[in-house]
Amino acid sequence: METVLKEKISELFVKNKFKIFNNDPDEVKALRETAFADFLRLDFPTIKWEAWKNTDLKKVLDRDYNFYFEPAKEHIDIEKVFQCEVPDFDTHIISLYNGWYVYRDKPLTKLPDGTILGSFARAMEEYPEIILKHYNQYAKENKNGLNSLNTAYAQDGIFIYVPDGVETYKTIQMVNILNKEDNLFVQNRNLVIVGKNSKLTLVHCDDSHNHKSSFTNTVTEVFMDEGAKVDHYKLQNLNNITSLINSTFFYQSANSNLTSFAISLNGGLIRNDIRITLDGEGSNADINGLYLVDKEQHVDNQVFVDHAKPGCTSNELFKGILDDQSTAVFNGHILVRKDAQKTNAYQKNRNVLLSDKATVNAKPFLEIYADDVKCSHGATVGQLDDEAMFYIKSRGISEYNAKLLLMYAFAAEVINKITIVPLKDRIDDLVKKRLRGELAICDQCVLHCRNQEKIYDFNIDMSKI
């Protein structure tokens, strides 16, 4: 069946070439052609691939998806569709609706500090020299069918440019909203450029507002110039039949500093592919992840840290709680290149299994070619500590509450690292709810669930009743 989808994609590509290529500069057109050839050759990843061994896309690719090569004509009042429900969370929201930038026709927003935000397609027209310098520079190393497909197909996405020496005072929130009454196959391409000694806090959300099974294949490239600091949060609020392949590429220059969070609470199949290149001395990456999954959910966190230059540090912490038949994959790969001496790299993955039907696949992997390094990794799979349980119970706390307390404490190690206070409180709240089993998917959550009055539309043809 995957071949059916592949055929459909290749047919559509040929048929809609003029729409996809649109106003692209020639270089980008050429890039798309090669990427498309790559996709045809590489195909969708299968479980025969080492990196995809535990994430089987077959079932999701068997579904029929629709592709759109033009944004819908309808007028969208994005403020009505999407309201960020994190209390007191003051952000600058830029949204994609079904994969298209909402205010596509308007020029790019230019903030007073010089930061430029807006549609990726639009940026390609207005700032081709910036785009060409960075576009596909960081993602090209990771050759797989989905990335190639994204390069070939993606028509829109978000573009953020922070000039040198600017500290963005407001958090920028990128939101991709899926809301269409058919199975969408969406491909976004985002490019974030952070100048020298600049600072950016970025929250990247994927939301679905329907009960259709969509497939989102997002590629985000983040370029960090010398001394840049980026705080990156990846959240999603998707229904349980949606698939999200989220590939994020960070390129770090000297003395840059990255903190990244991948928090997976809701979604059917989620794969966070985080690839970091530490290509400058003294750069530092902190990569954190938290996943609380149940039912048939599948979360796959792939983290690749490439220590290309000496004196860099990286620190990974991924924790997960699994219930029901859910599955989680952690695949951490640290590569220390020959001359990357004085490297410190740490990796930690801890999992708690609550049910006998849940599965964890962990592969913390070190590849080291330099000798003056300190690297360590650890992975554990287990249950809550019996002794701790006993201790709490001996203080008169019921087993149920003791369990909640311990699970919460387990997750809190990651949550406490979040520096945006309103966001931290919100996630904290959600995790607690989730642990209590109060967080049903219909609550439409991650950033939304304060809005209890939200009305859902069901398209019922009244005349037939």
Binding site: L353, A358, D372, C375
Partner: protein, 482 residues
């Protein structure tokens, strides 16, 4: 000091492989190449019953459709399987009755290796089965063992004398088509050791096999089968060497262990095949499949290995923990120097309830060697309360070598606990400084630190081996400096 260290490294580099001599002994060899006729030839030569031939042919059929695995972190030059001689045996004049009848040239070879069959027999109480170019030449101590009902003989002898046991257990742990090298071995293996410990018997001596590749252009394909019946115990040792040659030689062995209820098997290896010269020329390709099955409840299999030889090592001694409360252990020290490459580790498959496994792996890389640990811990759904602890440490000596860790954890049971930890480091200047200011030379200090680093594994080895292993470690590494 830097200069000093370099000198020492060079000295070590010049250290010759002391087992690199060739024995001139009349050999009987099969023609080069691999095809059905060769397999029939081998089977016929060994006068095997039909089930053996069918077993070999089945494996060959499977092998033909397999490709050499390339997933390991190794650079394996292409191997032409048709350029290898699959059968080489010392020419036999007549059946050997006692040690006196063994070719004196052969005996000399083994005493040169420090495996004096005669001496071993008398002094150390270790029963030895010596395998010379794939053919078992002599098993000592058989009579003593027979008193306890223990069968310890060459594989070919077992096929003739105990076909039922062979038929029942051969291939039950490593099936003919298990992997490329196992299938190759199954098709062409010429000899090996066979061992059966009857119910409730605690084997009074350590059993030992010594493997030696001698002829040029031959591959060594031996097969070991150990069956520990209910409540029995055996400690088994394996050692190996090969002459120094410029060409690469292939060694693809299979070891199968079956531990029935309450049985315990301890398997120790000191692997010292010729590693090639310092430019990476020559050396043995060591592609070995070792697997133990804890079939009965409360059984235990423990692997200990010291890997210092071979140009390429591809070896994953594993345990299938089928019986409830069964235990699997893996202790390993792997050293790579010069151009040596090693991809080794263990696989623990937890199937039964309350099964436990421990993996302790110590990798040491120096020169331009690459040393990888690759392991899998798999906890199946019904393996309740199972427990695994893995620790794999790497020590880097020099900035041109590589150390890698590829642990896989698949856990499907919520009552099980899996822990994995690993560190990579070099010998710290602090440690060296401390030793040196106590008047210990750099060379000795490194020997001390490396031996201390590997202690946890070395202490698992039987005494006879521990001494050899410690010496080997020092030879391979003294003077290298991180």
């Amino acid at each position: 000091m830097e200069k000093d260290n370099n000198n020492i490294i060079q000295e070590v580099t010049r250290n010759d492989y002391k087992y690199g001599f060739v024995t001139n002994i009349e050999m009987e060899t099969a023609p080069k190449g691999l095809n059905e006729d060769i397999i029939r030839y081998i089977s016929n030569k060994k006068n095997e019953p039909d089930f053996m031939l069918q077993f070999r042919l089945k494996a060959y059929e499977r092998w033909k459709n397999m490709i050499q695995p390339n997933w390991a972190h190794l650079k394996v030059p292409p191997i032409d399987y048709n350029e290898i001689i699959y059968y080489a045996a010392p020419k036999k004049k007549k059946e050997l009755g006692s040690l006196d009848e063994v070719d004196p040239e052969l005996l000399a070879t083994f005493s040169k290796l420090g495996i004096s069959l005669e001496e071993q027999k008398r002094l150390s109480g270790v029963a030895v089965d010596a395998v010379f170019d794939s053919v078992s030449v002599k098993t000592t101590f058989s009579e003593t063992l027979q008193k306890h009902g223990i069968i310890f003989c060459s594989f070919s002898e077992a096929v003739q004398k105990h076909p039922d046991l062979v038929k029942q257990y051969m291939g039950s742990v490593v099936p003919p088509g298990d992997n490329f090298f196992a299938a190759l071995n199954t098709a062409v293996f010429t000899d090996g050791s066979f061992c059966y410990i009857p119910k409730g018997v605690r084997c009074p001596v350590e059993l030992s096999t010594y493997f030696r590749i001698n002829s040029a252009g031959t591959g060594q394909f031996e097969r070991t089968l150990i069956i520990a019946d209910e409540g029995s115990y055996v400690s088994y040792m394996e050692g190996c060497t090969a002459p120094q040659r410029d060409e690469n030689q292939l060694h693809a062995a299979v070891v199968e262990i079956v531990a029935l209820k309450d049985a315990q098997v301890k398997y120790s290896t000191v692997q010292n095949w010729y590693p090639g010269d310092k430019n990476g020329k020559g050396g043995v390709y060591n592609f070995v499949t070792k697997r133990g099955m804890c079939k009965g409840n409360n059984s235990k299999i423990s692997w200990t290995q010291v890997e210092t030889g071979s140009a390429i090592t591809w070896k994953y001694p594993s345990c299938v923990l089928l019986g409830d409360n069964s235990v699997g252990e893996f202790y390993s020290v792997a050293v790579t120097n010069h151009h040596q490459q090693a991809d080794t580790g263990s696989k623990m498959t937890h199937i039964g309830k309350n099964t436990r496994s421990t993996i302790i792996s110590k990798g040491i890389s120096s020169g331009v060697g690459n040393n990888s640990y690759r392991g899998l811990v798999k906890i199946l759904r019904r393996a309740e309360n199972s427990r695994n602890f893995s620790q794999c440490d790497s020590l880097l000596l020099g900035d041109k070598c590589g150390a890698h860790t590829f642990p896989y954890i698949d856990a499907q049971n919520s009552t099980s606990i899996v822990e994995h930890e690993a560190t990579t480091s070099k010998i710290s200047d602090d440690q060296l400084f401390y030793c040196k200011q106590r008047g210990i030379s750099t060379e000795n200090a490194i020997g001390l630190i490396v031996n201390g680093y590997a202690r946890e594994v070395l202490k698992q080895l039987p005494m006879e081996f521990a001494v050899e292993a410690q010496k080997l470690l020092t030879i391979s590494l003294e003077g290298s400096v991180g």
